[in-house]
């Protein structure tokens, strides 16, 4: 599939933001469809089957969480939510309901496009084999389950590996603490964020050039973690 066929649906009531998103997305050669209300947005998702849906959490007729949930009932389409800065609880709710990532308003073009790309990649990935991830001097091969740092073999404990794997599967996208704990430790250990933090700290020591100023394993305060990977050269 070439990029030109990707369809992005923008569900946003404010015309100005819709305009900006439209411009940005078109500049990356995506096709753009727009919907002003949640109702309309869900309708369009059903009928036009976009490759990505961007939903504003502050829609007038329904709250974002319920929109995400409804979409998830009939489609695995990647969902990005737009939210105002302070609505943390809403972000977590939306992510738990099935959204893939969020972008805070006001956003910068770079940030938005990076997230869009990451989201597209992930959906593409499910069809392909798991690739090799590259960030800085570190590369992680998810298929062979090996990691290299600057050419040398990087020793990761099984749990550390699972953390990286989980984050890598949604590379560039946010993974909530709960999601991470559930995937790595299982649902019994939910709520044990201390343990998670310890592992993240150890991971940072191993993979970050400056563990004190992480560039790849980013904490999104109060929500979860995000793994920034270098973009493969082919992405626009």
């Amino acid at each position: 599939m070439t990029d030109a066929m990707f369809l992005v649906l923008v569900v946003e009531d404010d015309a100005g933001i819709r305009g900006v998103l439209h411009t940005l997305l078109e500049s990356q050669h995506y096709r753009v469809a727009e919907a002003e209300t949640a109702q309309r947005g869900i309708l369009e998702t059903r009928s036009h089957r976009p490759d990505l849906v961007i939903v504003d959490l502050g829609l007038p007729d329904r709250d974002g969480y319920s929109v995400v949930r409804e979409i998830r009932q009939f489609s695995p389409v990647p969902i990005l939510v737009l939210s105002a800065r302070t609505m943390e609880a809403d972000k977590i709710e939306a992510l738990d309901a099935g959204a893939d990532d969020y972008v805070t308003k006001p956003f910068s073009a770079a940030e938005l496009l990076a997230r869009v790309r990451a989201t597209m990649r992930r959906s593409a990935r499910t069809a392909d084999r798991l690739p090799v991830l590259q960030f800085g001097a570190v590369s992680v091969d998810l298929t062979t389950r090996t990691a290299l740092a600057g050419g040398n073999s990087l020793h990761l404990t099984p749990l550390e590996y699972r953390v990286i794997e989980c984050l890598a599967r949604s590379a560039g996208l946010i993974v909530t603490q709960e999601q991470l704990i559930r995937e790595v430790w299982g649902p019994a250990r939910l709520g044990d964020t201390r343990g998670l933090r310890a592992y993240v700290k150890m991971l940072r020591q191993k993979i970050e050039p400056d563990p004190k100023q992480p560039r790849y394993l980013i904490t999104e305060a109060g929500i979860g973690y995000r793994l920034h990977v270098d973009d493969p050269p082919s992405a626009g």
């Binding site: 943390e88 004190k212 992480p214 109060g222």
Partner: protein, 896 residues
């Protein structure tokens, strides 16, 4: 001189309040006549029909045609309220239904017979004792009322009319109702015509007063009554004219008005004097004071007399006088002293009662005033015919039982004296023996009271005569001089005994009064020291319950102005089943009701309104364990005083709360204004750049190269980010101020937080290298991650903004007992001079403000966030130059 002429602001305020209340009230129109039968009801109904035809909502509340066919015809066609059937002793009477009238609430309501007394003992029980009270309630509810009344029903003229007609009118209305009526229409019918109508059977006459009616309807009576009615109406017109013309004078009512004093004793002339006083005061346009003097003699009065005295004083107050009670040994001297203080030049007294020989021993008050005290005009009012005849012989109450033991003691003293005298007899002259007896009698007088003292005196005389006066052992007297001795001894003894008895009685009264004052003082003092309303209520209930041997409760209104039973811990003595409907009536009408009043007198408790200076604050309900207690006039008066004190305390507490709320509101307002001003400035500045740059970019004619366009776009991005930060800061701070922020805490490691902060500031710290040195093995802290990250972001930004490019910033963290300490240093110019605490206040900026955004809120937010976590934040100089910001976070977590 000064006291009389001082302006009275309370009166002014009362005037203003009255005027305001008057506007909301219904208007009362009285159809006024000299006697029954002149056609008042008829005229009223005629006028009602005219009004109805003009479209006014006129309803007949209560009109009894009494079988007069013309009147009946007029009532037809008008809407009538149903009567209230009241049953009493097997008879059903038709009465006016007040509640139905209030519900119907017409524009004009017709209610006949203003002076009618309601059947208070009937079933269902009417709310008020008198119809004029019903009408007052209607007026308060804003309903206009038309009514009828005769001249003889006016309280102040009651005795005059009785004098004219020979019959005393029992049903009266306070003059106030008449004087304050909006309109009075006089229905005048010459006596000749009236008598003609009577003969023709057109005048209603109740059967059982037939004979009295005959006496009543005689020409001289009718002429006199007609003159009274005309004069009274003329007075009203005159008063209105004066008010209109002399408006200025009315605004200074307390200057230059005459004032006189009326002295009343608890006799049957008291009421007459008070009514005279009202007429006199109206005629002179003077102020008048009614004074009742409690002399020791009056302390022995029975309850009936005491009640009457209080009733007389109430009547005086209701007629517009000031009622005062004095006490002292002599009425005349007390009156004179008071008159001097109050700057009164005329004293009015009743007929002197002591006539004949008694007036020689003790002068009556009137005589004393005239003879002994100069400088006063004294008016003596003769007693009128037809004055109320009370049974003669005042009941002597007081400690009534006879103390026999005292009489025995008196006898014993006499015997002792005789013994002593017998011992002295051989050696002393008879005159000295007399002295012994005198001493004995004096002792008896001082210790034993008047009766025993008299007995002792008589027995002493007898003993002296029998034992020692020649011829001895016989009652014959040889020398007539001894009669003088006997007489003097008796007299002296009686005088001393009387004096002592008087002093004791006065002491008792003074003691009682002092006790009452002490009780009032105790409550006032405790109330003054109490702050919150719940405590006030408890204190008040406790004191009232103790003082009046009753259960009490303070009922306060809720937001809808409905009274609620008090909640909170009950105090011993609190009343739990107060009747809320009665209390609500009291609250709405600002008048007492219940036990001992004219309204709903069958209730178990008395309900008093708590009157504040602006409005009624609530209701005090008091249920005495003995009903009779609250009926005593002194107790009622004391309870009213208690209620007044409680009202003051409650008002004080409410005002304090209001003042506090106002202060907080003002502060919030002030903060909001400062915020708006600051935001306005700080938003316009970046907006200006955005507007300029974007307009340049969109301007077709401008030919900009790519590099310029890029730079313009970059500034737009940067400024937009600044604005975004500012708005976020402001919103954050406002949320903190209003307490909306709930911390979502979780275990976080400080390095995580620092890392997040640094990542967020990635682009903006390019010019300032940051060193992070966190101690190893730092404990995690239980905090709200985004908020604490914000603190770090703000501190770092702050450092970057206020130091030149290239300055190093360092972040260190260490464990300190049960706290985590984080320090952000820079090697820049350091803090501005002055108190570093100042920096954390809202809108403070260290230096020149023109190019730094954020409205100076960043540090204030840091303080709010750190504070909310239970930590502290400080600023100070960094050793080695530069500024140092330190904050701490407690490491203790939730007890898990």
């Amino acid at each position: 001189m000064a006291e009389a002429d001082r302006p009275n602001p309370d009166k002014l305020l009362a005037e203003v309040n009255r005027a305001a209340a008057r506007d909301r009230r219904g208007r009362l129109k009285i159809f006024f006549g000299a006697s029954a039968g002149v056609g008042k009801t008829f005229t009223m109904l005629e006028a009602a029909r005219v009004a109805r035809a003009a479209g006014t909502d006129v309803v007949v509340g209560y009109v009894e045609p009494h079988g007069r066919s013309e009147t009946e015809r007029l009532v037809e066609g008008l809407e009538r309220l149903p009567f209230l059937e009241v049953r009493y002793k097997g008879i059903t009477r038709r009465e006016f239904d007040l509640d139905a009238a209030l519900r119907r609430a017409p524009a004009i309501l017709l209610v006949d017979e203003l002076a009618h007394s309601n059947l208070v003992d009937g079933e269902p029980r009417p709310r008020h004792a008198k119809r004029w009270q019903d009408i007052e309630e209607l007026l308060d509810a804003g309903i206009n009322v038309w009514t009828t009344v005769n001249i003889q029903h006016l309280e102040s003229l009651n005795d005059v009319v009785a004098g004219i007609t020979g019959t005393r009118q029992q049903e009266t209305i306070p003059d106030r109702i008449f004087d304050e009526a909006a309109e009075v229409e006089l229905i005048d019918l010459p006596p000749v015509d009236l008598l003609a109508r009577l003969k023709a059977g057109k005048v209603y006459v109740a059967e059982h007063v037939a004979t009295a009616t005959e006496r009543f309807f005689r020409t001289p009576n009718l002429l006199a009554l007609r003159e009274l009615a005309l004069r009274r109406t003329a007075d009203r017109v005159d008063a209105a004219a004066r008010e209109y013309a002399g408006g200025e004078r009315a605004s200074q009512p307390w200057l230059g008005r005459d004032r006189f004093l009326i002295a009343v004793a608890p006799d049957d002339q008291a009421e007459q004097l008070v009514r005279f006083g009202k007429r006199f005061a109206d005629a002179l346009d003077a102020e008048w004071i009614v004074v009742s003097v409690e002399t020791p003699a009056q302390l022995k009065l029975g309850e009936v007399e005491r009640n009457r005295r209080v009733d007389v004083l109430r009547l005086a107050e209701s007629l517009g006088a000031e009622a005062v009670t004095l006490d002292g040994p002599s009425a005349a001297s007390a009156l004179v002293e008071y008159a001097r203080v109050r700057n009164v030049t005329r004293i009015v007294v009743g007929e002197p009662k002591r006539t004949g020989w008694r007036s020689l021993i003790r002068r009556s008050t009137a005589t004393e005033l005239v003879r002994r005290f100069r400088g006063f005009d004294v008016s003596v009012i003769a007693r009128r015919e037809g004055a109320r005849r009370e049974p003669r012989g005042v009941v002597l109450a007081g400690p009534g039982e006879v103390r026999w033991d005292r009489y025995w003691a008196a006898l014993a003293i006499s015997v002792a004296c005789t013994g002593v005298a017998a011992l002295m007899y051989p050696y002393f002259e008879l005159t000295n023996l007399v002295m012994v007896y005198l001493l004995g009698a004096t002792v008896a007088a001082m210790r034993l009271g008047r009766g025993p003292a008299a007995l002792a005196a008589v027995v002493n005389v007898a003993a002296l005569d029998f034992c020692f006066v020649p011829p001895r052992f016989s009652f014959a007297v040889s020398d007539l001089q001894y009669f003088v001795t006997f007489g003097v001894m008796l007299g002296v003894t009686l005088v001393i005994a009387t004096l002592v008895a008087n002093i004791r009685a006065q002491n008792r009264v003074a003691g009682a009064r002092e006790r009452r004052t002490a009780l009032l003082y105790a409550m006032s003092r405790e109330l003054a020291a109490t702050r919150y309303f719940e405590n006030l209520a408890r204190v008040a209930v406790k004191h009232v319950a103790e003082t009046f041997a009753s259960h009490a409760a303070l009922l306060m209104p809720d937001a809808d102005d409905r009274l609620r039973t008090p909640h909170g811990a009950p105090v011993p003595g609190s009343l739990h089943d107060a009747d809320l409907s009665v209390a609500q009536w009291v609250y709405d009408h600002d008048r007492p009701a219940g036990l001992g009043t004219d309204t709903l007198p069958a209730a178990a408790a008395q309900y008093l309104p708590l009157k504040g200076t602006r409005r009624t604050l609530g209701v005090l309900a008091v249920r005495p364990s003995q009903r009779r207690r609250l009926l005593l006039p002194e107790q009622r008066h004391l309870l009213e005083t208690f209620a007044a004190q409680i009202a003051l305390a409650v008002e004080r507490a409410q005002l304090a709360e209001e003042a506090e709320a106002a202060r907080v509101a003002a502060e919030t307002e002030s903060l909001r204004n400062t915020l708006l001003a600051s935001i306005s400035h700080d938003l316009r500045t970046p907006l200006a750049v955005i507007a300029g740059a974007s307009s340049a970019l969109s301007h077709r004619a401008l030919d900009l190269d790519a590099e310029t366009r890029r730079r313009l776009a970059e500034s737009i991005e940067l400024k937009a980010q600044e604005m975004s930060e500012l708005i976020s800061n402001v919103l954050d701070l406002m949320r903190f101020e209003t307490g909306e922020v709930r911390l979502r805490r979780d275990w976080q490691t400080i390095d995580d937080l620092v890392g997040t902060a640094l990542t967020r500031l990635d682009g903006r710290l390019t010019t300032h290298p940051v060193d992070v040195a966190l101690a190893a093995e730092l404990p995690p802290v239980y905090v709200d991650a985004p908020l604490v990250t914000q603190v770090l972001v703000n501190l770092l930004e702050n450092a970057a903004k206020h130091t030149p490019a290239g300055t190093r910033i360092s972040i260190t963290a260490s464990n300190d007992a049960d706290e985590l300490r984080v320090v952000v240093d820079d090697t820049g110019p350091g803090l501005p001079p002055g108190d570093p605490e100042r920096l954390f206040a809202k809108f403070q900026r260290g230096r020149d403000e023109s190019n730094t955004g954020g409205a100076g809120l960043g540090l204030a937010i840091c303080r709010a966030i750190v504070g909310a976590h239970g930590g502290q934040i400080h600023a100070g100089p960094c050793p080695g130059g530069g500024a140092r910001f330190t904050f701490t976070l407690p490491t203790a977590g939730p007890a898990s």
